[in-house]
């Protein structure tokens, strides 16, 4: 985790080393053309920046030496000091010393500054062009010259994405090799593949680490957003940010951008009251909105708190009952935290008016889906009249997996490639009803075939998995999955494509039969459930 101090330090060192390299080049040029104004101006500018930056960050030795050198070059520029051999030697030494000091920032070693060198510099700076000045011989502190390149580089996100994708593909192949080594039962192959496993894992974490950015990159966009929305809503809102230094994966932050924007809009339009209402309620005229981040082990917790009117639990209950999400008598006994979870139901909204910023219809379910897609959680705390908090728990980083995407009833699902054996198309007539299931002969093997639409979308009591009449069309697309040497055919509506996906576990089981291993967000922004092949396989094993 990089703090802002650490970031400043790295930037300082990287830039200082650039200046150091450039100074060496420029002073060599100056030796050939002693009165080149442009070169002198460049040297002057760099020493000047080095001095100011070092002073700002607190490296006083560097700022002190830069200052002396800057003064000396200033004298040369103003022709008050000639660029003579003797002087050149001292200036070279001074620049070398700067280099040593810059490089020593990151090492434990302290640089011993030769007092003779400092005295020589002082003589040059103080005595103007006095030719009688005696410059003492300086003991070279650095006899071996090292060439140093900057430690900091800038990189485009798409390059990191590409790297991450490659890691994802590597992981798929690694997993294949790993399972091959088990199948073949070859000890040498097992050893190599377990080593491969560790290295790719290490690689994956290193790439993940390189993708971390400060959460401030997103947070700092909100002052403007809040200002615009609140002025359109004719409300006064003070935004307070904290925890901008917390690090999070850049793409997680990207996925969360719209959700946070949505929550902030909601807080201003539906949470914080108009100034006159606030005054009546004895609150300060300006509402307060706090957006904060903190890290909690593997997670980043983002909290958005407003001091608005809070959520009316009774209203939510009423709306939930009207929508048949819950029976009236059950609703009465629910704790508030469970009542709030109705707000995440698709299309659930209490807002009566449509505004420019918070249109009706787009509910919190979109936010919930986005958070699910990265394996995060969201919960609400609220007190009527006092305000509301949205607490988002997000993973710090992401994991990649190769998956096969397919459609059932126009909804996308994914199956991890690691469990995918093959894909076949069979005529309906090749499927046979055997007991409660369908079976087919696939490459000489009798395989249980499951109509996924039925399995995923029907109540268990009404499920007729052995009934061929429920199938749509004549030709059936079947994905053969395998788990623990057991094969299962899954009938899907449409095969889509193979893709690396970022899988995150669901925050809670979706229903009593836990058939989903996680959830992902597709490039299109669509949420996609990832089937848990082991769980589905076990389900059918138990059924038999």
């Amino acid at each position: 985790m990089k703090s802002r101090e650490q970031e400043y330090k790295e930037i300082f060192i990287a830039e200082a080393l650039e200046y150091f390299d450039a100074l060496n080049r420029l002073i060599s040029e100056l030796e050939k053309k002693p009165q080149d104004d442009q070169v002198l101006a460049e040297i002057f500018r760099m020493l000047h920046n080095l001095k100011a930056n070092a002073k700002a960050i607190g490296y006083l030795q560097i700022s002190d030496v830069s200052h002396k050198l800057e003064t000396a070059f200033g004298l040369i520029r103003n022709k008050e000091l000639s660029f003579s051999d003797e002087v050149v030697g001292v200036l070279f030494d001074g620049i070398d010393l700067l280099g040593e000091l810059i490089k020593s920032i990151d090492s434990e070693q302290q640089v011993e500054i030769d007092p003779v060198l400092i005295r020589n510099l002082d003589i040059i700076v103080d005595s103007l062009s006095d030719s009688t000045v005696e410059l003492a011989k300086v003991q070279k502190f650095s006899t071996s010259r090292n060439l140093t390149l900057s430690d900091l580089i800038y990189i485009q996100v798409k390059k990191l994405d590409h790297l991450m994708n490659l890691v994802g593909e590597l992981i798929i192949d690694r997993d294949r090799i790993l399972s091959l080594s088990r199948e073949l039962d070859n000890d040498e192959l097992k050893m190599v593949s377990s080593h491969l496993y560790r290295i790719t894992e290490d690689l994956q974490y290193s790439v993940m680490d390189a993708r971390l950015v400060s959460i401030g990159t997103l947070f700092n966009k909100f002052p403007r957003v809040v200002r615009d929305i609140s002025s359109a809503e004719k409300k006064e809102v003070n935004l307070e940010l904290s925890g901008q230094d917390i690090q999070i994966d850049r793409n997680i932050l990207q996925i969360m951008t719209d959700s946070l924007l949505h929550l902030v809009r909601n807080a201003i339009t539906h949470g914080i009251e108009k100034p006159e209402l606030r005054a009546k309620a004895g609150k300060p005229k300006a509402g307060s909105l706090q957006l904060s981040a903190r890290s909690d082990r593997e997670s980043v917790i983002i909290t958005l708190t407003d001091d608005g009117k809070g959520i009316d639990v009774a209203k939510v209950k009423k709306a939930a009952v009207e929508r048949h999400l819950v029976a009236a008598d059950v609703a009465d006994s629910l704790p508030d935290s469970e009542v709030y979870s109705f707000l995440f139901e698709p299309g659930f909204s209490l807002a009566k008016e449509v505004t420019e910023f918070s249109g009706r219809g787009v509910g919190l379910d979109v936010v919930k889906n986005a958070i699910d897609s990265i394996g995060g959680r969201i919960r609400i705390e609220s007190e009527k009249g006092k305000g509301t908090s949205f607490i988002l728990q997000l993973p710090t980083s992401i994991a990649v997996k190769g998956a096969l995407l397919f459609e059932i009833d126009s909804i996308f699902y994914a199956i991890p490639l690691i469990h995918t054996d093959s894909v076949v198309a069979l005529d309906k007539d090749e499927l046979h009803e055997v007991g409660e299931v369908l079976v087919a002969d696939i490459k000489g093997e009798t395989v249980t075939v499951v109509y996924l639409d039925e399995l995923l979308n029907m109540e268990e009591s009404q499920m007729r998995l052995g009934d061929k009449t429920r199938l749509k069309g004549q030709v059936q697309n079947i994905i053969i999955v395998s788990y623990n040497n057991r094969k299962l055919g899954l009938i899907v509506d449409k095969l889509y494509r193979q893709q690396d996906i970022v899988v995150k576990p669901l925050s809670k089981p979706l229903d009593s039969i836990d058939l989903y291993g996680g959830v992902t967000l597709l490039g299109t922004g669509k949420v996609c459930l990832v089937l848990d092949v082991p769980a589905i396989t076990k389900y059918f094993v138990n059924k038999r």
């Binding site: 830039e15 002057f44 500018r45 100011a52 002073k55 940010l241």
Partner: protein, 120 residues
Amino acid sequence: MKRILIVDDSFYMRTMLKNMLTDAGYEIVGEAPNGQTALELAKETNPDLITLDVILPDNTGLDVLKGIKAEQPDMKIVIVSAVGQEVIVNEALENGALSYIVKPFSEEKVLEVVKKALEE
């Protein structure tokens, strides 16, 4: 939210200024590492305020100041300088700069000067 353009040839200085200003709720519309880019960005982004370093690789800050003022006479410009550049700072103030910040600066000082300049 007020929009600010940062002109400084040091990436370190730009980063510090950017962090200080964005933390305080300003929007940074651009960062220019030299005079040419500064002139272009000033025109392109038309910010509410420009922080202008006096020593730049291609022009002096003073040239940039005059260049911007010639095109955008009402542009609010705050000079960022170091100790020992009082002469340039004075000249900049005479040429329409509103105020100045001396490096090394504190966050409070930067925000105070910027806030005041924006209110003028």
